[in-house]
């Protein structure tokens, strides 16, 4: 059973990764597209997962970036039409959207940390590993361990790169059905298999008797409604909830199956890769975006989290196909991404798209890729696993949120696709290692000496 699980998991992972690549690309492309098409609308892509919302509205000069940005002055400097009203709206929306992203990211991390702390399954080290991290970490020799974790990282990153390239190729040759099928397969795996495992472990932890008929009903309902909400149409809140749950599940799998040191090195490497893939001219993500822009196509439903509804008041469906698409995408665009995909996406340096609606109603949705969710949660989850106490976990959590704010700020400044991972992960890693090694012993000895500061 375990072997089968591992094999299936690895296989699915492969699938997922592929899928996520495609998704990412599509996403990224989308975002980029929107930017070009509507110069007034800065679409920031953060994390490949997020790309998607394509704003094709060109009219709106809305300083979208401003919206994302918290600080007003930044916006003022940049805004092309510094209306007082626009600035005000920008400020108003900026803070609001940052908060709109904080909440899902926080929820995902809370779910992951709560599970880690209560269900011991996810912290038990097994000899099983993903096929992507074939080298075993030997706890006896530091040098050997470091070497193996570096090798693991290289394997994983190269798998991700290959997948991304495959995705770009698939997209270039218009194999949309293939990509769609992959996505669906990935989300099926995540919604059914991983949640089944998760539920089983939770029941075992709490010593609850569960019978197969009820379990089948639960998993069946959860999975099917999830597929419907994510890939088709469903209430926004439910869609968001499913995406958060899916990201948490994927993050938990990573936390369980990635070896200790490899996980940290992989996190760092993926942020670097994200940076490269999004910002370099020859990066796969950038190429994907350019291709999508050339074709002026809507991106297939990607796994991105959409935090708000985008209103298109006054715009009929037929009047502006782009807007309709955009709207559609925004509305139903948040698809749950397979964990792997998200991961890939994350590495791809998804971007966050901020679509500016041209309409009277201003309620922009902020979209964030699922890969970002996953990797943030992996970092915080690992801090909860190995950190020992809550100081480290909280420090990492705060670090990631700060990184997110800064990324949004940068998006507002640069108004182009930026990767969401690097800043947050860097801060997270720095905070984790410094808290673990500096703050914790300090707090411990303060407590030991009963000295309160």
């Amino acid at each position: 059973m375990r072997l089968l699980q591992l094999w299936a998991f690895g296989f699915c992972h492969l699938l997922f990764m592929n899928t996520s690549d495609s998704e990412e690309d599509s996403y990224n492309e989308r975002s980029a597209l929107v930017q070009c098409e509507s110069p007034t609308i800065p679409s920031y892509n953060q994390d490949h997962d997020m790309s998607l919302p394509q704003e094709t509205d060109t009219k709106r000069r809305r300083p979208v970036s401003s919206g994302l940005d918290e600080p007003g002055p930044v916006e003022r400097e940049r805004a092309s039409t510094p209306d007082g009203e626009e600035e005000e709206l920008t400020l108003k929306y900026g803070a609001k959207h940052v908060i709109m992203l904080f909440i899902p990211v926080t929820l995902c991390m809370v779910v992951v940390v709560a599970t880690i702390k209560s269900v011991s399954f996810y912290t038990e080290k097994t000899s099983q590993r993903l096929i992507y991290t074939p080298f075993e970490e030997d706890p006896n020799s530091v040098g050997q361990r470091l070497l193996n974790s570096l090798l693991n990282t290289m394997v994983m990153i190269s798998v991700i790169v290959v997948m991304t390239i495959i995705l770009v190729v698939l997209y270039k040759y218009r194999c949309y059905k293939f990509i769609h099928g992959w996505l669906i397969l990935s989300s099926l795996m995540l919604l059914f298999w991983f949640s089944f495992m998760y539920l089983g472990e939770v029941f075992k932890t709490y010593n609850v008797a569960m019978d197969y008929p009820t379990l089948v009903m639960i998993i069946w309902n959860f999975g099917v409604v999830g597929m419907i909400c994510i890939h088709w149409k469903g209430p926004l809140r439910l869609q968001q909830a499913y995406l958060i749950v899916i990201s948490a599940l994927m993050a938990l799998i990573f936390i369980k199956y990635l070896p200790e040191w490899s996980a940290w090195v992989i996190l760092g490497a993926i942020s670097i890769y994200d940076l490269i893939a999004v910002l370099c001219p020859k990066g796969p993500l950038r190429m994907l975006v350019e291709t999508a822009q050339e074709r002026n196509e809507p991106i297939f439903p990607a796994l991105i989290y959409s935090s708000a509804m985008v209103w298109m008041v006054g715009m009929a469906d037929s009047s502006n196909p782009d807007s309709a698409d955009e709207r559609q995408r925004n509305e139903g665009g948040a698809l749950a991404q397979e964990g792997v995909e998200s991961e890939d996406d994350a590495t791809q340096g998804g971007r966050r798209r901020y679509s500016a609606e041209e309409d009277l109603e201003e309620d922009r949705g902020v979209k964030l890729g699922l890969g970002d969710f996953i990797f943030y949660s992996v970092l915080v989850g690992k801090a909860a696993t190995t950190g020992g106490d809550w100081n480290t976990t909280l420090a990492c959590f705060v670090a990631i949120l700060i990184g997110l704010c800064l990324t949004l700020l940068l998006l507002a400044i640069f108004k182009k696709a930026l990767p969401a991972l690097p800043i947050s992960i860097t801060f997270g890693l720095v905070f984790y290692f410094s808290t673990d090694n500096l703050v914790r012993p300090f707090m411990d000895s303060l407590a030991a000496h009963q000295y309160y500061i």
Binding site: V208, A209, D211, W220, N221, I228, G234, M309
Partner: protein, 101 residues
């Protein structure tokens, strides 16, 4: 997806699909139907498709109540008699609680 933005016919079709889909052993889908379309069906001013949406919501609610009753009954029976059923109980169980010595 925001219900405000789509035309009434689409709302009706969506509600109908959710209602029909629930027959595939999906009471959760019926629950989503009820919660999502409740405001549309009962709290909004009347429009052409509203009576039909209302009927779908009511039928979904009915189906949901039936399913909840069935599941509650089964779960109660199972939890109560699981130990007494011996082998059958174990066969039906996904997780068996560990006893205390």
């Amino acid at each position: 997806m925001n219900l405000e933005r789509i035309p009434n016919e689409e709302k009706l079709s969506l509600s109908r699909r959710y209602y029909l889909g629930g027959f595939a052993f999906l009471p959760f889908l019926w629950l989503v139907n009820v919660l999502w379309f409740f405001r549309e069906a009962f709290l909004k001013p009347t429009y052409t498709e509203q009576p039909q949406i209302k009927s779908y919501v009511k039928k979904s609610a009915l189906g949901l109540i039936v399913w909840v009753a069935v599941l509650t009954t089964w779960i109660t029976i199972f939890q109560h008699f699981r130990a007494q059923w011996g082998e059958v109980g174990d066969y039906l169980s996904f997780t068996i609680p560990l006893g205390t010595a």
